[in-house]
Structure formats: C-alpha cells, structure tokens
Amino acid sequence: MIKIAVLVKEVPDTWSDRRIDPGTKRVDRDGDVVIDEINEKAVEAALQVKESGGGEVTAVTMGPKNALDAVRKALAMGADAGIHIIDEALGGSDALQTSAALAAALGSRGFDLVIAGNESTDGRTAAVPAMLAERLGLSQATFLRTLTVKDGTVTGERMTDDGHVEVRASLPALVSVTEQIAEARFPNFKGIMAAKKKPVETLGLAELGIAAGDAGGANSWSVVETVAAKPPREGGTIIKDDGTAGQKLADYLASAKLI
C-alpha cells in the first residue's frame, strides 16, 4: 500500500472577476474561492493510483480558514485524510516559504508519492512542486500528462514545447500533473457526508518548527514591487480592401512572424 500526498489549494474562481489587492499586493481571496481545477485533477490522479494498486491518499493544503474547503472537496471525492497548514504568520509567503512549510508538514510522514498540479491558476509560479521535491530529497517528474505507478516506479509522459518525453522515477517521488491528466470525478452524497468524519490535522508554525522570523510576506525572499491590472484589450487593426488588402495582411502576418 503506498502513501500518497496530494497538494490542493483554494483559488479565486476563474469565472468571477479576479483582482489583486493594491494595498497588500496579494491576490484578493475575499471573493468566490474554489478548489483549483488542476488540483481536482491531481486528486483524481491520486485516487486512480489508489484504486489501481491500493493506497492511502492525504490531501494537503496551506492557506486561511476557507482553504479547508479544498481539503473537504478532496475528501468527498475519496481522499482518506487531510492536513491543513494554517497560521496568520504564514500570510504572504512566497514560493520558497510555501515549499518550506509543505516540506515541514510532509517531511517525516513517509509519503511514497506526492502529487501536485503543475501550476495554480492564481500565483502561476509553477515553482512549488520542484522546490518541494528538492527540500524533501525526492526524485521529481513535473508536467506529466499521464501517470502510472507499478512495482515501486512511477512513469508518465512529460509535456514539452514540441511534444512529450517518457519519464520514470523510483518511489519515493514527487510528480506534478497537467490539465490533461484526468477528468475529476464528482463526489457523491455518501462521499460528501463521509468527508466530515475523516481526520484533518491542523498544523501551525509551532508544529512545523518554523521560526516566526522566517515566515510570511515580511520575511520572504521575493518582493512584489508593484502590481498593475492587465491593460484592456485594444481594438485590432482593420484593413479595408482597396486592392492592396492581401499584401497588407501578408505583411502583417510576416511582421508577427506567423508566416
């Protein structure tokens, strides 16, 4: 039986207006938040591994109170336990600090496989999985679109710009998965009710053994200097046909290196 940890996170709903708080320069998490879709797929991948060869799945999140909803969703889908890392002092953590907190939480628990989404839809650094693997000393295989675990080995297809490569690692390992990995199942009612009875452990700075002086935005290695909203899309260029439109179109496409 293998022990699987899957990382999950609440993010602002991509269907609603997302914004960055200009005061704190952080993502505004007061609006509609949902479990990140890529994480649902990561949970699905974890459950499929569990169903194919037996195992236990723990959903791990770091975030404020409502981040627990992401763990609940994973539990309703079929995960067995949850870990919620929550501490005021962790607010504003950058990728390095987040990976440190996750490593502290996962470190001594003997997970055979850690599964993460390739990048979150809010921060989009895509850095946490690799950092976490380094900190935990695990082999890593990122950007997988397929995932199979057999005889202590994880294999999968890693997406690249022009195709994919087959990769393999022996357990323990960390993998990150792309959108294509699987369609997430819907939890059923029994699952929703059972989720509330499954164990969720809460960890703060003290339990993680992280010093207050190392935690949170004030102590982070990276600093957000300024934030700006994406400029509204400008109207395109309209070419009127006076006999030269074909040439103009071709010139335009060539200038954009499209032809």
């Binding site: 059923n188 009612f189 929703i192």
Partner: protein
C-alpha cells in the same frame, strides 16, 4: 450560506449544480431535438449516486432523505427538465413504491439496480378514461391458477420504454369490495409487470410538446401472466398507496418547477446584462429589471414552499396540503418565468436552441402532471372544509 440547509445539503446542491452545468447542459439541446433520453448521462447520474439519494445504505442507497432528493431535482431542472423528471419518476414512481411496500424478496430482486441507476421502473396509473379520477381504472388483474392475469392499457407512462426499463408497477382492479353501508367499490391493487413478459407491449413513444428527452409511452397488457408474488403491497391497498406516492411526487415536482423558474432567472440576468439594444444593455430598462425581479421573487417563494413540504414529509408530519400548495405556486412560477424569459430573449427566445425556449415548452406539463393544478386546488379547498 442558506440557513435553511445543512452543510451536507449545501454541498450536495452545489455538487449537482456543477454536474448539471458541466455534464447535463451540453447534451440537452441534442437530446431534446432527438426526443431521446441520453443514456450515458443517466449512467453518470447513477455513478453520482443520484438514484439512491433518499434510500438507506442497507439497500445500496446514499443515506439521504426526500429533501436531499428534491434538492438534486431542483438543481438539474435549472438546465434540463427532462433529466430532472427522469430522476424524479425513477425514484418516486419506480423505486420508492418497491422500497416502501415491497416484500423482502421484491426489494432484493429490484432495488439494487434501481438505486444505482442501472435500471429504471415506471408506475402505470393513468389510463385513457382514468387520469385525475384514478378510481375509474379499468385495467384488471385476476388471480388465475397462482398467477395474475393482467388485461388493459395505460397511457403517458414515464421511463417505461428506455433500454434499461425493467418493470412497471401497474394499478389494476383486482375485485370488488362491499363497504359497511352496502355500497360496492372497486378493489385496486398494484401488480409488478416486468418488461419482456409475454403480452406486455410498450407502444411507440409520444411526440410531446416538452420534456421531449424524457421517455413516455402508452402500454398495453393482453393476457399478461405474472406470478402471484408480484402483488406490490397489500391487495386492495393500491389506492391508498399510490395516493401517498402522488403526494410525495408533488413536492418533487414543485422542486423541479422551482429549478426551472430559477434557470429562467439565471438566463435572463445574463442576457439582460449582455444584450445591447438602442445602445444600452436591455437590463438598464426598469421594465426588464423589474420583470426579472418578479421572476426572482417567484423562485424564492416557490423554494420556501417546497422546502416546508419536504421537511414535513421527512419529519413524518402531515404534508398533503403543503405539497399541493408548493406544486401549485411552483408550477405557476415556472410557467410565468418561462414566458417572461422568452419575452426578454426576443426572437432568440423563440428558437429551440435557447434554453429559455425549452423551458417554455417544458413548463406547461408542470401544471398537469402529478395531479393537475385543479386537483391541487381541490386538495387545498378540502383542507379548508370546502368540499365543492
């Protein structure tokens, strides 16, 4: 969060809404156009546990109650009434009578596949000459040599001809009873007639105005023989049993109608914000905004009405009048909201590919099925001592 709902109920509703939007809705137009129940969607609803919602885990159910079933039906009807009524009928008319009145053997035989959506069953009450007046039933079942011999026909029977339809519970006259005052009445009972039994024919489907993806057929029974053990519930209790079935069904139809009315609001709000006419979004006109505000008020009151009836039902309190009121106001809300929504959509609202056009066609039956609204008024009037 809605204070009327527990956390589990809230999560269930959110989950089914998500399922409705991502799995059901993309298939609805095609299914409606082809007059065909999308069986793969039904299978996915089975995986989700929807067909087992109100049944205990001992029989393979999800351990919810009638209220939770109605929440799911409401969530589905926002985008597709055909799918919602398929679930409603599968449970209310198919599985529930077996669960409630069946013998242990009948339950063991039929429930496992019904509560998982691997099979569907129907309830055959309505006949050409017996709709609102079920007492006028003509179909007969006579005990003959240890078997029921069934003869007659039924009409408008939901879920009776799908590829996974397994049996029909048929309301039939099984004899006569003499009351204490000497009057003679028909003895009504319910007989389980499995598909494939010789003499039982599922006639071609109806060409319906709405609920076109839902499966509805006339049925004929010609010297159909089934074992004596296929009697469902006590002999002579047929009438009482299906009245209970219909009372509950009204709550579910009220929930369905509420969902339909809500779907019309959702579509109208989106359209009012995005459709520009004379240079402004039409929602800026007070007339349009107020129309949608009225629609929303109807959704809210309908919802409170079915919540109340369903809670009473689950608590074992009397709910007959409340169910009738809920069905009356909610079906009215669905009908009016569909009419308002199509008006807001203008010409596009008259095109079958728009959801509001489908809601418009689908909503009319809500005033007719599971007891017409006139029947609901009769029930409410009776509760006031007005026997008419």
């Amino acid at each position: 969060m809605n204070p009327q709902l527990s956390e589990d109920e809230h999560d269930l509703s959110a989950m089914v809404r998500d399922f409705a939007d991502t799995v059901v809705a993309p298939r609805s137009y095609e299914a409606d156009t082809r007059h065909e129940l999308p069986m793969d969607v039904v299978a996915q609803m089975g995986d989700l546990g929807l067909f087992g919602l109100p049944f205990p885990e001992e029989v393979g159910g999800q351990g919810g109650d009638y209220f939770s079933l109605c929440l799911a039906i409401e969530a589905l009807a926002r985008v597709d009434q055909s799918i919602a009524i398929t679930l409603e009928a599968a449970i209310g008319l198919g599985a529930m009578p077996i669960f409630r009145y069946g013998t242990e053997e009948q339950k063991d035989t039929w429930l496992p596949d019904l509560v998982t959506g691997r099979a569907l069953a129907g309830f055959g009450l309505t006949e050409a000459e017996a709709g609102s007046d079920a007492g006028a039933t003509r179909t007969t079942a006579v005990l003959d040599d240890g078997e029921w011999l069934v003869n007659g026909s039924k009409q408008f029977i939901t879920n009776s001809g799908t590829p996974i339809s397994r049996f029909i519970s048929v309301a039939a006259v099984t004899g006569e009873r003499t009351r204490a005052d000497g009057t003679v009445t028909k003895e009504l009972s319910t007989i389980i007639v499995p598909h494939g039994t010789q003499g039982f024919t599922v006639e071609p489907a109806y060409d319906k105005v709405g609920w076109r993806a839902s499966d509805t057929h006339p049925l004929t029974f010609e010297d159909v023989r089934v074992p004596e053990a296929n009697l469902l519930g006590e002999r002579g209790r047929g009438f009482a049993n299906f009245l209970r079935t219909l009372d509950e069904g009204r709550i579910a139809v009220a929930a369905l109608a509420t969902g339909a009315a809500e779907g019309c609001v959702e579509e109208s709000v989106k359209y009012a914000k995005s459709r520009n006419v004379f240079g402004v979004p039409i929602g800026r006109h007070q007339f349009i905004a107020f129309t949608i505000a009225q629609m929303q008020a109807r959704v809210h009151t309908s919802r409170l009405a079915w919540y109340d009836a369903a809670r009473r039902c689950d608590a074992g309190l009397s709910f007959k009048t409340e169910a009738a009121i809920a069905k009356l106001v909610a079906s009215d809300a669905a009908m009016r909201n569909a009419r308002d929504a199509t008006q807001i959509f203008g010409g596009y609202g008259f095109m079958n590919e728009s959801l509001v056009a489908r809601q418009y066609r689908d909503s009319k039956i809500l005033e007719i099925g599971e007891g017409t609204n006139e029947v609901q008024l009769m029930i409410i009037a009776r509760s006031l001592g007005l026997d008419g």
